[in-house]
């Protein structure tokens, strides 16, 4: 279904428009939240929340960007909100542990395995994902959207509401930082 028809149907709360939208975008939304959050168990819930927000706030869509850009924006925001919440929980658990309350520190996703990774690359990708997780938020989003979701610099600029050159610089810095932390990682591995 065409975007324009989809939007009109969604505004009119038509069931078939919503199901067509979900069918058309579910894979992209699921992959985006999965790549950024790196939580296989939570990704489905997050993707559901993205579609619920689309359904609730379709009247706010002004058509300034394409529908897919708008959806990607909601998906990245949801994933980032989730990460912030997790980090806050982790900090809270840490503070509690300082006061002697035996709360388990919230699990960190160092072992995230993306289901689409080729078998022979699994171990290396695991290391790479653990380093991607340590990147600054905007670098992580730009890097994931480009390298994992295959979005162009222009599309990412639309999603992140930045200029194309800012996106280029974010991705460049993300690659540099990844390179640095991987070098450090492998140096330690060889020194063992």
């Amino acid at each position: 279904m065409e975007d324009k028809l989809l939007i009109e149907g969604l505004v009119e709360r038509k069931e078939e428009s919503f199901s067509a939208l979900v069918l058309q975008y579910q894979r992209r939304v699921y992959n985006t939240v999965l790549s950024i959050s790196q939580q296989t168990e939570e990704a489905e819930d997050l993707a559901q929340e993205v579609f619920m927000e689309i359904f609730e706030s379709i009247h706010k869509y002004r058509g300034e960007s394409s529908l897919s850009t708008w959806i990607y924006r909601i998906a990245t925001n949801k994933a980032l909100e989730f990460i912030r919440k997790k980090k806050a929980q982790k900090r809270f658990a840490f503070v509690k542990s300082l006061f002697g309350q035996n709360d388990e520190i919230v699990h960190q996703s160092i072992d995230f395995e993306h289901p689409g990774i080729l078998l022979e690359n699994k171990e290396r990708a695991k290391v790479l994902f653990s380093k991607i997780e340590q990147l600054a938020e905007n670098q992580k989003v730009a890097y994931c959207l480009h390298n994992l979701e295959g979005l162009s610099y222009e599309e990412i600029a639309g999603v992140m509401k930045l200029s194309k050159s800012s996106v280029e610089s974010l991705i460049f810095r993300a690659k540099q930082n990844l390179r640095k932390s991987l070098e450090h990682f492998y140096k330690n591995e060889y020194d063992r």
Partner: protein
């Protein structure tokens, strides 16, 4: 050594190059609709009860009832200070036979 590390870094950075998109979970739409239905019920029946216009008066009534109950309890405690005296009074037992019961 440096070359080996460089090589490892490059291979790791390239490890996601053949990445395929993950499939969204089965029955995604069905589960999404079920969740939306659940949440719309909460929205329909529970959220209106949490509006300040309902919540504050309800809270005030609860506090008022608490205060009244507490007051009544204190009063009844004071009047029950001597239970034997109370029973004597209630059943008019003191003066009919001219004897004290205790």
């Amino acid at each position: 050594m440096t070359d080996r590390i460089e090589n490892e870094v490059n291979r790791t950075l390239e490890s996601i190059s053949g990445l395929k998109k993950a499939d969204s979970p089965d029955f995604f739409y069905t589960r999404l609709r079920a969740r939306m239905q659940r949440e719309s019920n909460v929205e329909k029946y529970i959220k209106p009860m949490l509006r300040p216009a309902i919540l504050y008066p309800a809270f005030s009534v609860i506090i008022l009832l608490n205060i009244l109950t507490f007051n009544k309890l204190i009063k009844s405690k004071n009047s029950n200070s001597n239970p034997i005296e109370n029973i004597k009074n209630d059943y008019n037992l003191t003066n009919s036979y001219g004897i004290e019961l205790y």
